[in-house]
Amino acid sequence: MPRTTFSQAIELALSAAMAEDDRVLVLGEDVQMLRRSLFLRFGTQRVRNTPISESAMLGTALGAAMAGWRPVAEIMFVDFVTVAMDMLMNHAAKLATFSNGRWRAPLVVRAACGGGYGDAGQHEQALWGMLAGVPGLSVVVPSTPADAAGLMLAALHDPGPVVFLEHKLLSQDWLEAVGGHSRARAALDVPENGTIGEVSFPPEATPLGQAALRRPGTNLALVSVGVGVHRCLSAAATLADEGIDTAVLDLRTVSPLDREAVTELASSTGHVLVVDEDYTRGGLSGEIAAVIAERDTGARFGRVTCEGTIPYARELEREMLPNEQRIVTAAHRLLGRESRQAASSQRAR
């Protein structure tokens, strides 16, 4: 299978779908420049620059989807989706129920998400928890190029609406656009296995609601999405060296959530640690705690999450976002193996 970057993988899925189905449209701010290969191939009718009007953009995409087209509306950063929240939350998400299932809006909202490059909390949020909390919205967060293509294809085939979130640390296009990649000294913790990998051609759809076990393990389950999966894999290797056999589950979609995979792993390991770049409260990590409690798994639960607004300074940002060190420390605590270092530093306080 050819090795493909995360950004190219999404383009691969989009171009395949656009070639196959004339009703697939791409609209958004600057898409004729940002997605210029699609623009060149499919023209101004199907790749449309919108004004900086997120609300009109999402509403237009919704209306077109209701009238039989299959739009992909590209909101640059997921933080900006809040400007158009009414169209997404009160309209797109409600259509299926209010029409008694007679009307669907096959709409994909594509947006870059996530932090770790110094943009602070108005441009670096995850927000998948908030979005997934709205009934009627599917939310996908790929962590590899294969899933980037696969989940985009699945989103395009879904009766919708689906929010497709691409993490900026995985996307070369976005890293270059925000200027992080071009400067050697702006050291970014980019997980290599997420940015480039094998993608089948033509790409295959990744079913929504199906988690992937990235690493088996018997003592502890790390559960995550997006860049968090790669942080978990690093932490799992460190924990394995200490004799803690650690599994890593990549949820891939936040809604619908693969409750079976979570339940199974919680039961088999007895310890679940959720690693979520999104906010602590009212989101994915709490939902997973509910799943393992409701299903009587008896598993212990812990979480490494974003506790507050992401600050600008790189050191503060690093502490706010889940990192390998925070995951290892939380794993020790969850397993009752408080590391000596942590214990002594606590005494010092």
Binding site: A120, A177, V178, R314
Partner: protein
């Protein structure tokens, strides 16, 4: 308000803003400032001409090209540099960065969300109106932002409530990499007039013209005569942000050459639209790139050069020397502090 602008003091402010932004660009290129970086170079005459009319107690609501208006509004340079370096001693403890600069002491707030300065300035304006001490509130935003519903809503609200607000629309004719005229219907003047706002259009590179127009707008606001929509034509000298892919293509022939092959290949790639449609796309992309390149070579667009020409050469040079030293001193002091950043 004196009838004639003090060109020396305006030029001095413009130099301070420019040298701060040049310093910021250097720090960004060195990787000491991370994330995106939107510079306000090219907007100095507009910012200086407006800010000269502000008094303590007046409020400022600005976009992500926030450093120049903060500089002109009297925020400490060292505190700004420390902030952008992510230093705990920065204006906002290193937690804000350039897109979210906040100074409650100056009633000055920035936002990284396009158009967000407009609703916030209405609140500053309402507070000023309620306080009744003749204070005003000024917002800066770009012409791309007028397509945000929140900006339109704000113009209406400010107009019906006769808020003491000046909306300054910095018209650089670009919305990121999209040319504004392709996404903005009806024109800026007609649009603002539709809300019953007085509209003034001014060459935003001409600091004296901006100073006069802004003086009338601020004066009207102070006297309870309501808001003004001030359109200032400016140049965007450094693209949407540093690292702007469009600017890289426009400036660097190596990047341009590297982009040509995939663009031409795209015309022939895979099933899709017919050849005429593809060639039209190629034409439109080429026009956009050409417009960006033209923006790079057109002479006499730099507001600093224009203002310098109005001063005696020795006077201008002395102001430049003085402000360069001020900015360099602030940077040195800022770099002396402990910088919080990961290796």
């Amino acid at each position: 308000m004196s009838a004639q602008p003090d060109l020396r003091s305006l030029y001095r402010q413009m130099c301070r803003m420019r040298y701060v932004e040049e310093t910021v660009a250097g720090l960004w290129n060195d990787g000491l400032i991370t994330g995106e970086m939107h510079l306000g170079t090219g907007e100095e005459a507009t910012i200086a001409g407006v800010a000269a009319h502000l008094r303590p107690g007046d409020a400022l609501s600005v976009d992500y090209r926030s450093t120049p208006p903060f500089v002109a509004h009297g925020v400490d340079l060292e505190a700004i540099f420390r902030e952008l370096l992510g230093d705990a001693g920065g204006l906002d403890g290193g937690r804000a960065g350039h897109m979210h600069l906040l100074s409650p002491e100056h009633l000055a707030a920035a936002s990284g969300i396009v158009g967000a300065s407009a609703p916030v300035v209405c609140g500053f304006g309402l507070a000023a109106q309620l306080d009744g001490r003749g204070q005003v509130a000024v917002a800066f935003f770009g012409d791309g932002a007028v397509n945000e519903g929140m900006v339109m809503e704000s113009l209406n609200l400010a107009s019906v409530w006769r808020l003491p607000v000046v909306f300054v629309c910095k018209d650089n004719r670009w919305a990121v990499t999209t040319r504004s005229r392709s996404v903005t219907a009806g024109g800026l003047r007609h649009r603002a007039r539709g809300f019953g706002l007085p509209v003034v259009t001014v060459d935003g590179r001409d600091v004296a013209a901006v100073w006069r127009a802004a003086g009338r707008a601020v004066d009207n606001a102070r006297r309870g005569l309501g808001p003004t929509f001030l359109i200032a034509r400016v140049e965007r000298l450094e693209g949407h942000f540093l690292g702007d892919p469009l600017m890289q293509v426009a400036r660097n022939t190596r990047v341009l050459t590297a982009e040509v092959a995939p663009l031409v290949a795209g015309v022939w790639s895979g099933p899709g639209a017919g050849l005429p449609v593809r060639l039209r796309s190629l034409m439109r992309l080429s026009q956009t790139i050409a417009a960006a390149m033209l923006g790079q070579v057109r002479p006499r667009k730099d507001p600093l050069m224009l203002t310098r020409g109005l001063l005696e050469a020795s006077q201008a040079a002395a102001l430049e020397q003085e402000t360069r030293a001020e900015v360099a001193g602030a940077l040195a002091a800022a770099r002396g502090g402990k910088v919080l950043r990961s290796a």
